[in-house]
């Protein structure tokens, strides 16, 4: 991908303040200890009961900023999602899309997909997070479980290059179909991408305007 430097004042890390000297370490995800507090213990207990492979499927349970996150192995994602949706004690009937995050420093788990879930029945929230290597960017699609994830998965594919296996029509949604690269990855520059006019013919300068 060609890229012109020196546009929009962004160079290197893109630290426009010039005063930061920032060390970017990324967020670590050490598992939280029980009790998790709030209704989080109940969710964990109910999932353990309804999903016997809990300890195998859930890599970590993180409670942070008053929010509960289950880090799920991608092989188990669909079955965990189905259990969370269908079990009467859990009933997370709504998935509010998927948000990609790119951590180039976390070798072997560079790409994260984050699913915020909402249970209207029990008025609870939960977050699922899946981490995958950049070299094998595949995650099972959840469109079969929550049809509303269709466009969200297309967007995450478009922006991060995560391939959602089983999605019925995984095409770009915001960028043009023939775009190169995935713009929201950290290795993709801000600005400096040459503008393409595909199929346009450009008249010779002498013929562009006539003032005769």
């Amino acid at each position: 991908m060609t890229h012109d430097e020196g546009m929009f004042g962004v160079h290197g890390t893109g630290d426009t303040s010039g005063f930061g000297g920032l060390v970017r370490t990324g967020s670590s995800s050490g598992s939280s200890e029980r009790p998790y507090g709030s209704y989080f213990d109940e969710i964990a207990d109910d999932l353990e009961r309804a999903y016997p492979e809990f300890s195998d499927a859930i890599e970590a349970v993180v409670v942070q900023n008053g929010e509960l996150t289950f880090h799920v192995k991608r092989e188990k994602l669909e079955s965990v999602a189905r259990t969370l949706r269908d079990d009467p004690k859990l009933r997370f009937e709504m998935c509010l899309g998927v948000s990609g995050v790119h951590y180039p420093d976390q070798v072997g788990r560079e790409l994260h997909a984050v699913y915020p879930l909402l249970s209207m029945t029990h008025n609870r929230r939960l977050r699922l997070e899946v981490s995958i290597p950049d070299s094998d960017p595949h995650i099972p699609s959840l469109v079969e479980v929550w049809a509303g994830n269709n466009w969200h998965e297309r967007e995450t594919f478009d922006m991060f290059g995560i391939i959602f296996d089983g999605h019925g029509g995984l095409t770009r949604i915001l960028m043009p179909d023939d775009w190169n690269g995935h713009p929201q990855r950290k290795d993709y520059p801000l600005g400096g991408i040459p503008v393409e006019f595909i199929g346009a013919t450009i008249p010779a300068p002498s013929e562009r305007r006539s003032y005769q």
């Binding site: 990324g26 967020s27 900023n65 049809a147 960028m175």
Partner: protein, 444 residues
Amino acid sequence: MSFDPYASSRETTEGRVYSVTGGDWDELSTEIGATKEERVVVNMGPQHPSTHGVLRLILELEGETVTEARCGIGYLHTGIEKNTEYRTWTQGVTYVTRMDYLSPIFNETAYCMSVEKLLGITDQITERAQVIRVMMMELNRISSHMVCFGTGGLELGALTPIFFAFRDRETVLDIFEKVSGLRMNMAYIRPGGVAQDVPQDAVADIRKACRDMRKSFKDNETLLVGNSIWMKRTKDVGYLDLAGCMTLGVTGPILRAAGMPWDLRKSQPYSGYENYDFDVITTDTCDAYGRFLVRLGELEQSLRIIEQCCDKLDQLAGQPVMVADKKIAWPAQLSVSADGMGNSLSHIREIMGESMEALIHHFKIVTEGFRVPAGQAYASVESPRGETGVHTVSDGGTRPYRVHFREPSFNNLQSTAAMCEGGMIADVISAVASIDPVMGGVDR
């Protein structure tokens, strides 16, 4: 076929493609009528006056019946989420306010709530700041619903509603200008509070505006509720029941028109919504008319909340509107003077003439910004179109590591196929207007 400047056609690998732009298409329709093809695929938009913005609808038609409907989006993609990663947390507000440009205050509030969650200062936001946020959000809900009525009416051929709607919207925008200095994209809500206090005389103006709007809302109500043409265009059109809403993740007026009293202001209150008296409006018709009635009812509820906000603002006079922590609070004190909004003179006097440290602090926090502890947070508000959710990730720096908006317009637009397929092409317009998508929010 002779050359028609408004309707030309050419052969492609996908069949014959006709490009029509305007004027009279008699020859074209004769030619299409003569072909054996039963089905025609029509690209409606992205430059079509009835698609509610730069939305491209790809419709497969059999006669006037829509057999398949798909959306083409992305024409307004501006990379706002990417841009926020290159600016400070406070500057992010200026970007996100431009996403769904009809509900800027909701974008700002949701974004700031997620930043405050990461900072761990959610409970330090002063009550006055929360009341101002609620008041601005409810005013914004009115101005946003007004555009829905106005443009929705235009799209269905009703030319009068937009005049009533934009008159009332103008009242709200005048208040926004008085409070924040700007009519749209105000960047008024900031992490830690709001940019500046409400001017002293504004509360009286807002009270008067509420009284006026309560009367003037009646104009559109009497014009459209029960109007036989309006009912014929919207009743039983764009049908989406509760099961459809749930599986497609649809929230907001569409969900409430399917009979589900789900409103984050009631079910998961934020910014002190639990302290206000208001009702969640629902209908059970699941159609475009029901959504119209829900929005109409919400106007009155918004007025109720705004009036309670005015009372609270009187009680809370003098309270700060920014967190006390000077490591986070925006240092500049703004004020409105004769030539518009700018830095307050007393603040300039302090940093330029009295305190070197204050100048250094001001300079550092404005250029470099404040650091936000590493982690992720999700915050959501009930915007005029449904749940606006913000997922923010920090790596501990002065700039966001990732900001993702779960835009209700983006999500709800997916239901176009479910609402339109099997119906008439004229009903597509009704259905899309009842979704009320804002393409700035859809494409971001």
